[in-house]
Amino acid sequence: MERLALSDDILMKIEKPERYIGHEVNSVVKNKEDVKVRFVMCFPDVYEIGMSHLGIQILYDMFNSWEDVWCERVYSPWRDLDAVMRAEKIPLFALESQDPIREFDFLGITIQYEMCYTNILQILDLSGIPINASDRGEDCPIVIGGGPCTYNPEPIADFFDLFYIGEGETQYRRLLDLYEECKELRLGRKEFLRRAARIPGIYAPGFYEVIYHEDGTIKSFTPTEEGIPATIRKEIEMDVSDTYYPMKPVVPFIKVTQDRVVLEIQRGCIRGCRFCQAGQLYRPVRERDVETLKQWAIQMLQNTGHEEISLSSLSSSDYSKLPELINFLMEECKRKHTNISLPSLRIDAFSLDVMSKVQDVKKSSLTFAPEAGSQRLRNVINKGLTEEVILQGAALAFEGGWTRVKLYFMLGLPTETPEDIRGIAELANKIAATFFDTVPKEKRVNGKVQIVASTSFFVPKPFTPFQWASQCTKDEFVEKAYQTRAAISEQLNQKSIKYNWHEADASVLEGVLARGDRKLCEVIRRVYAEGSFFDAWSEYYDNERWLRVMEECGLSTEFYTHRERPLDEILPWDFIDCGVTKEFLKREWEKAQREETSANCKLKCQGCGAARFGGGICVEHQIQSAPLTTGGC
């Protein structure tokens, strides 16, 4: 095991050699002679980001729990090492065995955000794997993609042999069994892919053909062979308490973004905010059993030695046993000198009490995410947070000693008007006023309140009610940010308010890729060939290049972003069935335009379609109305 893929000379001159040497606590080393399948899991960004991702830890643990499989990890080599590897022709390697990726059976890539697409090409290129799936020979690993971006895999369809749509816990065993069988029978790569395409949740892009209208929209999207399914339904783990979860997550040597135990308490979200993709993709809400979570927390803290534990979910305040879980963790953590890092909880008496116990109130800040400045626009996006609730929460917090507030908004939401934008400034001002009304002068510790309002630009995503919506152009985005800034500077308490906004360039490109089609594969190939990767890092993002290459390929950003799509257009991701029906999304899109809200899943079922999975919140309501069914499942 002492052999490293990189020489001492290289390791001594690059930044953070620890990214590339493996050996972390709880990393799994097997004898490669003893396994039938070698799988390497990739997060196409730098080690510190990739190692913070829970999904890979879950799948790594699952694969390695199988005797016939050895799963390893690989991340994007940072720019310094990338240059060395190209110059010295060193093939990309997996961390555990330090063996070249090229020798593996599978390369699994998790795709969490659009701006990492060029990094996927870097991984393939450095590994010596042809970038186009159609050019790969029998000896190449099967390249399989997963993660949220695979709900519209079309802009990267050329680069993958397979996509796994949905949660990985359910079908990987079947896929690997099929692989072993095909290998034994020497059926060849193409036949394996053909058979894999029939496994639920597996999409093999090479077996589908897209025909376009003259205007660039899709005319048809069809399988090219008999037996290949026309739609792919997402896979979902319905028993979230009795499934794979890493009791021994890998502990990195260097400080990574998520340097703590992560306890995923539930999947899905009841809220149904209309801009949010995750809120639709992961339906229905499935809570984990609280006793199971307590056991997991103890084991993971013991096995990692981490000094912090954090709860993970889309909306932790909605977890039904949250007080019980947090009280347990507070007890446990106090005993073990461990910190609890709380996710953004809804601000109320309970959460403030908990926060005051686990954080230093003077140093911490409070977070609200109203997302939109006016009640009208919050109704449009179905964000069930009212000004009254925000101001009450803020008053409670100010009484409790907090003086710092963070506010998150989006600019460019559908139907947004200048009044909605002014609402951002006015809300920030009212919160400041609440501070001065609540806290008497003699009790103001630092004499003032600090409000930070941040805006990001809205990017419509597939499988949301806004998937048909027009996205703002760059100029419109920038104009909206100026309006926000101007409105804030007109407020009475403007000295207490700080305003931050994001760059607009990347938001436009993110929009292109999010709702893009297969024609974009060529754009990604070309910008990569010209040197683009690590686009998620603003210092390496070359907007001019992307725009020029788009033009050279005869494509326009307007087509993908600014154009409002008619409801009957075939969308590139229509062949995927994410559980939520298109009818439901249309209903929600129309309600949004009428400024009507929809109640959350706990209050009233909206008939989104996810009930067909037969579990989670969709059936819990039935259990409540049928008291004879006992709850202790």
């Binding site: 001492d8 620890e18 040497i21 606590v25 030695g305 910190n339 686990v358």
Partner: protein
């Protein structure tokens, strides 16, 4: 109760930096279930001191850290539990109980012992058997040291406690000042030694193992260097 822990660092993990080795041990101590003392406050941390930071890429057979425990079964049990919680390449070789009045590991460092080899093809064209003799015969060994305040002349001579060339195995054995005031690195010694011959070291030419870290139990004038690990007792 204060404990002094001696460990080795070798193989791939030699590329783990000093701060990350500290973080590694903080987590290993939790995994090992050692009843370590924590500071008070919102983010409690373990009371822990390291003797001397080891540079990235160096191996060592004699690293030290001090921790404070509230209780333990025995030093042997602490050692076993830590090794069980460790990774290949970081190995605890000794645990001692420190007398209450003992200075902490960092403040106690007096000198360090090294084995230094040249990487293949990077040995300068110098006859070291002769060069070491001539080098040590110099009255002063002045080198210029670049600091934040500019360049400064430093005399290496008093800080070289031992220097020896093994021509059969082609390696140096050295004991150098490692105190906070007068710390000398092996590379500085070799660069100064070969300079008169018109030679310079190639990049990354040296393969260095720190063998031991010493403390001074004598006086400033009449020092007596003993390994840091000899200060404590087993029980």
């Amino acid at each position: 109760m204060k404990l002094r822990i001696k460990f080795r660092k070798f193989g791939a993990v030699r590329f783990i930096g000093h701060l990350d080795v500290m973080r590694f041990f903080q987590k290993a101590i939790r995994r090992a279930g050692i009843d370590v003392r924590y500071t008070e406050g919102f983010s409690p941390h373990q009371v822990m001191t390291f003797a001397a930071p080891l540079g990235v890429g160096l191996e060592s057979n004699g690293e030290y850290m001090d921790i404070e425990v509230l209780s333990m079964e025995s030093t042997a049990q602490v050692k076993e539990a830590l090794n069980h919680a460790s990774v290949p390449g970081i190995e605890v070789i000794d645990v001692k109980i420190l007398p209450d009045q003992a200075g902490n590991a960092m403040a106690s460092v007096y000198s360090a012992e090294y084995t230094v080899r040249f990487r293949q093809g990077r040995k300068p064209a110098v006859d070291f058997a002769q060069a070491v003799g001539e080098f040590l015969a110099r009255e002063e060994i002045l080198i210029s040291k670049v600091t934040k305040k500019g360049t400064r002349e430093v005399n290496l001579k008093p800080g070289i406690h031992l220097l020896d060339w093994n021509s059969q195995e082609e390696k140096f054995h050295m004991i150098l000042d490692a105190s906070s005031a007068g710390n000398i690195k092996p590379i500085q010694v070799i660069e100064a030694m070969i300079e008169p011959y018109g030679e310079r070291l190639a990049e990354n030419a040296l393969q260095i193992t720190r063998e031991e870290v010493y403390t001074n139990i004598g006086t400033e004038e009449r020092p007596v260097a003993v390994p840091l690990g000899e200060i404590g007792t087993d029980e």
